[in-house]
Assembly symmetry: C2
Homo-oligomer: 117 residues x 2
């Protein structure tokens, strides 16, 4: 019994890990923004603005900065005329792909469930 991790301690660690994730991912828009970039691989500011239903340019700008600071996305300026900006997932950001897929699947099932009630 002394050699195994006590169950309660294990749960505490799991809870902390979940909250660590949410520190970076919570907010009304972050997951949706990451999903947009994830599904399209490369995505421009105005594209994401269209993909994420309801977001304003101000919010998008702010959230993109936070995601960049947290090394989940990469911002690349293309020297076109006028300039365009591509957002891509970093390698670290790409590790969220499984979660995005799960959330997509869950969203579809959830919608069925709610309408089907």
């Amino acid at each position: 019994m002394e050699c195994t991790v006590p169950e309660k301690e294990q749960h505490k660690k799991e809870m902390m890990a979940v909250q660590d994730s949410m520190d970076v991912l919570s907010g009304k828009w972050k997951i949706a923004i990451i999903s947009s970039i994830c599904y399209y691989n490369k995505r421009r500011f105005s594209d994401i603005l269209n993909d994420v239903v309801g977001i304003s340019n101000k919010m998008l700008s702010k959230e993109l900065k936070e995601l960049e600071v947290n090394k989940l996305i990469k911002r690349s300026v293309l020297e076109t005329q006028p300039i365009t900006v591509q957002y891509t997932l970093t390698d670290h950001g790409k590790t969220l792909q499984t979660i995005i897929n799960n959330l997509t699947d869950w969203g579809i099932e959830h919608r069925k469930k709610i309408i089907g009630d």
Copy 2:
């Protein structure tokens, strides 16, 4: 080409599904609350208050109500003295388990990544 779902349409559906999920799950605390109930199977109000670092009783009360309305958790009053209340996941709520586990794993890796930088 006409018989397959156009790729862009597919991505639009995926984006909508993600946003459907986030409509129910977003907010600073919901995922953490669900995780607490998920990992312990049954959990009382005061337990969750301790599990979710930083949440206030006011917020917990509010978020629990929303999760109950969305049929993700079930509230059961036990006629002890004084009364205790058990929160459990509904069958629908249990379908979030995969996502919770993924977020837990991701949180652990993310912490390593951030500290390791």
